[in-house]
Structure formats: C-alpha cells, structure tokens
Symmetry: C2
Subunit: 96 residues, 2 copies
C-alpha cells in the first residue's frame, strides 16, 4: 500500500524532472538567440543588471517552500549554463 504511494509520488517527480529538463533546454535556446542579437548590436553578453532584475522577479513570485537563498543559488547556476553555451557558440563562430 505505502509502496504504491511512494511509486506514485516518484512517478510525479519524474514528470516534474522532465518538465524542468524541457524548460532548462528551452531557456538555453533562448539565451543563444539573445546572444546572437546582442552580438549583432555589439553588446556585452554578460549583463549583471539584467541578472539582478531576473532574480528580483523570481523573488517577487516565490511562494515557497524553497527559501530565496536556495533559489538564488540554483538560478545563478542555471544562468551560468546559458552564458557558458553562448561562450561556446562564440568560440565556434570565431573558428568558422
């Protein structure tokens, strides 16, 4: 009985993991696109003011249970993935 309960919850967790996977990849695609637009305009890819604004928006919408410090930590890691990918694309473009 309880094992069935655990399995059902784990199924839900797998679904959420796949939603996260989807949105993290979608986000990376979008960051690549933003990188291309910024490059055309000769803008710097990393923009700390914009990063701050994104974190402020996250703070304003957080209803828990996770605390803001934990969320900031995870989102900074997610932001970093996007920037790393832009950096890779930039290097590849330079090699072409």
């Amino acid at each position: 009985m309880s094992n069935e309960e655990l399995e059902a919850l784990r199924g839900q967790l797998d679904d959420i993991n796949l939603e996260l996977l989807n949105f993290i990849n979608k986000r990376a695609e979008l960051v690549q696109e933003i990188g291309r637009v910024k490059e055309k305009q000769g803008m710097n890819r990393y923009d700390p003011v914009r990063e701050r604004k994104m974190l402020d928006l996250i703070e304003a919408h957080n209803e828990g249970p996770l605390e803001l410090a934990s969320l900031k930590h995870i989102f900074k890691e997610i932001f970093k993935l996007g920037l790393d990918l832009q950096e890779d694309n930039h290097k590849k473009a330079l090699l072409v």
Copy 2:
C-alpha cells in the same frame, strides 16, 4: 527595432524563469511528501540508486542544446535542494 527584439526575447526568458521557479518549488513540495512517506516506513531519505535512475531518465529525454554533463550538474544541485529541505523538516520535527 533590434531593441524591441531583445525586449521581446527577454520577456520570454522571464516567463521561462517563472515556469522553472514554479516547477522547482513543486518538486520541493513533492520531495517533502516523499520524505514523510519514507520516514513512516523507516526508509533512508537519500537513495543513490533512485538518483541514478532519475539522471538516466533525464539523459534518455535530453534533446539539447545543453549537454548531458551540464544537465547532470544542474539536476544534482536541484536534487540537493530537495534533500536539504527534507533534512530541515526532519530537524524541525525533532524539535517539536
């Protein structure tokens, strides 16, 4: 013109950030629930085999652009948040 394009892309990015916020918090709630079920059954909260299976599922569904190594890194951080929260709840329960 291009600034409008950039603003539109940034709006999409904010939407994705809020979707991620929603799913990360939903995931944390579910992990708390799983922790309670496991505790009732006297099971250990941390289960490396289960963590491995979650990562395998993520690997099987990844269509990029992010590479598996980057995704594993971010998901391990997300898993850690869930475990930390279970740990906090456990400590609070012991204090009651």
